[in-house]
């Protein structure tokens, strides 16, 4: 495995690992780790570093919805153009073009349900290319970013064993 891939594997699991610890885990020296991170960022492989948040546990937390969007394209308007316009809204957390029954899957983050539904009905639905939207509010999150949302760890192994 090359250095960038090894560093990426560590960061994808835990973006808070510091350079010295990544160096220790990969066997690379610290300078090589720093170079690899720079290259990953410069090449657009790594776009940012964020916490995986369970918003249900935050006072005045946020509500999340997955919105299906269908669009109608014409000679001047392709997926790229539509995506560019949708992505500009700060409320849009993630935007994917998908295969199947609809075109875009949009993850929207809002203060509450009303906030999200107003955003969809007033900002997204009226866009000329958009023909249909279906909003699914997320009721409960069990796993996100590869991490299970559950209480504590339940390591029930014997504390010392042969």
């Amino acid at each position: 495995m090359d250095a960038e891939r090894e560093v990426l594997d560590v960061l994808a699991r835990n973006a808070r690992e510091d350079i010295d610890d990544i160096a220790a885990q990969t066997g690379l020296d610290a300078a090589a780790v720093a170079d690899a991170i720079d290259a990953l960022e410069a090449d657009g492989v790594v776009h940012g570093y964020q916490a995986v948040v369970d918003w249900d546990r935050v006072d005045e937390g946020k509500i999340r919805a997955v919105v299906e969007i269908n669009v109608e394209l014409d000679r001047e308007t392709g997926y790229e153009q539509v995506a560019d316009r949708i992505a500009k809204f700060p409320a849009v957390d993630a935007l994917h073009l998908v295969s199947g029954d609809y075109d875009f899957a949009v993850e929207v983050l809002g203060e509450n349900m009303q906030d999200v539904s107003e955003f969809i009905s007033e900002q997204v639905a009226p866009m000329p290319a958009v023909t249909q939207t279906v909003t699914h509010y997320i009721m409960e999150t069990y796993k996100d970013g590869g991490i299970r949302f559950e209480d504590g760890d339940d390591d029930d192994r014997l504390s010392v064993s042969p």
Binding site: D9, A24, D155, R157, L158, S161, P162
Partner: protein, 379 residues
């Protein structure tokens, strides 16, 4: 009740004391655990659940389900080991049963069994229960705890009847290359030793692939290989292992097994079939994670001044703490709430070392090694 001499004289495991000390506190970070911190792959667990839902709760064939034995034989092609699933594979209740059966099938009363140390703690008692006598062959830190022809000769192993060979090794994490094994194999052929090769950690090697003594010239016919699902597939509690060997040895082991165990538990056999069919990727991910932890732990111990050789397998590092390892481990537990196992528990050559298991989360490993570094600095 009057107890047999055999039972009364069997020594208490040295690990017991540290288990009790660690259990007495509730703030302990334990680096003393000899099993994976992962759970068995979910797909393997669902296969076990499905089998229960379908009512598959009968005995299996004494030797284990044919479908499982076939997959085990196929799986071992990756180590250049070739065994006939019909006559040369025996599924057992954990690798522990396979080790016990191997001793009972190969050792006559008065026979001598050479065991390299430091090593896993069950061989000595197993040999004793089979009526044999253990001959200890110390391995040396200077050899990174590999077994050598010189150490076998120096210990008088030429007179032994059987050799136990456990690599990748618990507690040292040592592995052996084909070249190193060739020397040991030559010794076994020259001195007519049979071998019990406990290869339970074969899937957990970092860098080089596992090398088996059974694949050395002339060794297949004199070696029983023991392996299982506990370590590679994080299935310790499901108790499923197996033995591979020449038909006469496996047949002898099965003759004992059919009376003492009848068959290995059925539910885990279904999990094991699924594990072999579909879980290579998950094992590879676990190996990658162990490898990252291994590098972190080894570099941290070397930085804090406890010399640690680079272990090639299993999930243990074996740092040198110097002097009285038991006192070091007790004081460390007392002062910093970190549990490790003193190397001397694992026999000759382990003194002055600590067994550090990195089968625990990266976060805990960092916290524990920070605490150990503080302890070493104060000492």
């Amino acid at each position: 009740m009057r107890l047999s001499d055999r039972a009364r004289t069997l020594p208490e495991s040295g690990i017991r004391k540290f288990f009790e000390l660690a259990e007495a506190r509730d703030d302990v970070i334990s680096l003393g655990v000899g099993e994976p911190d992962f759970s068995a792959p979910w797909t393997a667990r669902t296969a076990a659940i499905d089998s229960l839902e379908r009512g598959k709760t009968s005995y299996t064939a004494n030797r284990g389900m044919a479908a499982l034995r076939e997959r085990i034989a196929d799986h071992h092609e990756r180590y250049d080991q070739s065994y006939d699933p019909g006559e040369e594979v025996l599924v057992t209740t954990g690798a522990s049963e396979a080790v016990d059966l191997a001793f009972r099938a190969l050792v006559d009363p008065g026979d001598t069994v050479a065991v390299h140390e430091p090593t896993y703690i069950s061989y000595g008692p197993g040999i004793e229960l089979a009526g044999g006598e253990q001959l200890t062959v110390p391995t040396r830190a200077a050899d990174d705890f590999a077994l050598t022809r010189e150490s076998l000769e120096a210990a008088g192993a030429a007179e032994a009847d059987v050799l136990v060979c456990c690599y990748p090794n618990n507690p040292t994490g040592a592995t052996m290359t084909d070249e190193e094994l060739a020397e040991v194999a030559a010794f076994c052929r020259d001195e007519n030793l049979r071998v019990v090769a406990d290869e339970i950690y074969a899937a957990l090697t970092y860098g080089d692939d596992h090398a088996s003594i059974a694949t050395q010239p002339g060794m297949r016919e004199r070696t029983v290989v023991v392996n299982g699902f506990s370590k590679a597939y994080a299935m310790t509690g499901l108790r499923l292992g197996y033995a591979l060997g020449p038909a006469d040895a496996v047949d002898a082991m099965n003759r004992i097994h059919q009376y003492t165990m009848l068959s290995a538990p059925t539910t885990p056999q279904y999990a094991a079939i699924e594990a072999l069919d579909r879980c290579d990727d998950e094992v590879a991910e676990m190996v990658d994670e162990y490898d990252r932890r291994r590098r972190l732990v080894v570099s941290r111990f070397n930085e804090m001044g406890l010399d640690t050789f680079e272990p090639g397998g299993a999930f243990y590092a074996f740092p040198e703490c110097g002097g009285d390892d038991e006192a070091f481990a007790e004081e460390l537990l007392e002062a910093e709430g970190v549990a490790v196992v003193p190397g001397s528990v694992f026999g000759a050559g382990g003194e002055g070392h600590l067994r550090v298991s990195y089968a625990t989360s990266m976060r805990e490993l960092k916290e524990a090694t920070d605490r150990i570094a503080a302890f070493v600095a104060d000492r």
